[in-house]
């Protein structure tokens, strides 16, 4: 019912052509995803499943299409008008690429954590309240309760409770990144999409974020993009290795890193870190 011109599906394939069986353990399923930017083929026929309540790591060298894949998952690819996206992405049986559904509400199923923190230009309190208010929640007690809960969830509450109405720029960059995580969690997503979330952070802040992820996977599904092999080893339940827009190998980290099947992964494991 809700449809905007730019957010309209690019192809007229109708909703939910269910020709792939959807298994209940995976929350997100991608089939035949192709992305072009002009003549450049960024993602080449990508098929994959993201298991529920696990940390899935998208690993690969810079420029291999990991970030583009992540942005397709919550339709931020709409922002880049030069991209031509085709294929299917199912989230709990909704094909989000070809849908008449409300795109903002689809995006609320996912929280995004980007390469460096982008606190919105408002106070710490309003940053977390932003998503709640967009959902139409006006009850102040409910908002306060949620802000406290999610700031506690990311371990930021004790650090900021006295300065909730200050600008987030007074926080350290690691704290800002956790604030962004709390802000994402406040809209009650099912999936957390994290695009190299520790690349701008110091090792200690990175460690905190990594530990948070380990705890959060009980309630959320996490898709983490990284090019750091060691981070993948530390966190992953499931590794997807990409190169040049294609999925080269996937599987559990123990399996994958002990016996890499392809030369590309072997090379990456030697040079990559």
């Amino acid at each position: 019912m809700y449809l905007l011109k730019e957010e309209m599906m690019t192809h007229n394939k109708m909703i939910n052509i269910v020709d792939t069986d959807i298994d209940t353990d995976s929350i997100l399923q991608i089939s035949n995803l192709n992305v072009y930017a002009g003549d450049h083929h960024i993602l080449k026929n990508v098929n994959l499943r993201i298991p529920k309540n696990k940390i899935t790591v998208l690993l690969g060298p810079s420029g291999c299409g990991k970030t583009t894949l992540l942005k397709c998952m919550n339709r931020l690819s709409d922002l880049y008008k030069e991209l031509d996206v085709s294929g299917h992405i199912y989230i709990e049986n909704d094909d989000i690429l070809n849908t008449y559904k409300n795109i903002p509400s689809i995006r609320q199923k996912m929280g995004l954590l980007s390469q460096r923190p982008y606190p919105l230009p408002m106070s710490i309190y309003k940053n977390v309240a932003y998503g709640l208010k967009l959902k139409g929640i006006r009850d102040k007690n409910l908002i306060d309760y949620n802000i406290e809960r999610h700031l506690k969830e990311v371990g930021l509450w004790d650090e900021v409770k006295d300065r909730l109405h200050n600008s987030p720029h007074s926080l350290s960059i690691g704290q800002q990144q956790r604030l962004c995580l709390a802000r994402g969690l406040a809209v009650k997503p099912r999936i957390i999409l994290a695009d190299e979330p520790t690349s701008a952070l110091d090792p200690i802040s990175s460690k905190i974020i990594e530990n948070l992820f380990k705890g959060l996977k009980k309630h959320y599904t996490i898709v983490l993009v990284t090019h750091v092999l060691r981070q993948a080893v530390r966190l992953a339940d499931n590794v997807i290795f990409m190169s040049h827009g294609e999925i080269i190998e996937q599987g559990s980290p123990e399996h994958l890193f002990k016996n890499p099947q392809t030369d590309k992964l072997k090379e990456y494991m030697v040079d990559g870190n």
Partner: protein, 284 residues
Amino acid sequence: MNRRKIIEEKIFRILSAIATYSLIATLAFIIILIFIKGFHALSWDMVLKAPKGGYYYGGEGGVLNAIVGSLYISIGATIIATIIGVPAALYINVYLSRRKRMQNFIRYILDALWGVPSIVYGAFGFTLMLFLGMNASLLAGIITVSFLIIPIVVRTFDEVLCNIPKGLHEATLALGSTRTEMAFKIIFKQGFPGFITALLLAFGRGIGDAASVLFTAGYTDLIPIHLDEPAATLPLAIFFQLSSPIPEVRERAFAAAAILTIIILVISLTARFLSKKYSISNLK
């Protein structure tokens, strides 16, 4: 709730589209209007002859006096502005490259000067002219317009120069060149398209400006030969002749308007084309 959001989004998308397209429409409207009025009046006589019997009452002749006067003034002013502006821009980017505060201060002053209206430059030029004991003349016009366009030359050129990587400076100095050699041979060469853009913009501003030459260049039917003679200019030819009661004279104003518009169109499009070409070749 959701419905309100959708309607709000739609309204603002439409409004902003209307605002943008109305700009395009306004531009098209102005240019088409000037061209229709002007081409009707344009003829070889118009371009190749000076007015006869006085620019205000005499119906015959064309606007050659204004075309030549305008070209003299804007070319002369552009040359002066280049002689002063280019070394200044190079100085900011070569000699002051380690002194950020000084750089910012100079840019700040230049930006503010850019914002000073041309009528003030005109009044100042007039004061200067009286002080030096000059009459309204080609030279006074050139000097006044060059004041007006110096900030444009410096800042436009500077915008390009400040994007040249600092590594290039060090590499050139390491090869044993003096700072001057670096400034003129390397930095100037790197920024050459910016230099051309700066010249074009300055020339365009100079040729189109009326308020600065109003006091200083005077107005005459004759084609100026010496620097101390008064000179007509295109913008003033439009301004003076448009208010004439005689239709033929008004035709001359429209012809001058069309000529001026064509000049500005060519300059704007060339400058944009050059800067685009430049930005593409320097993207990586």
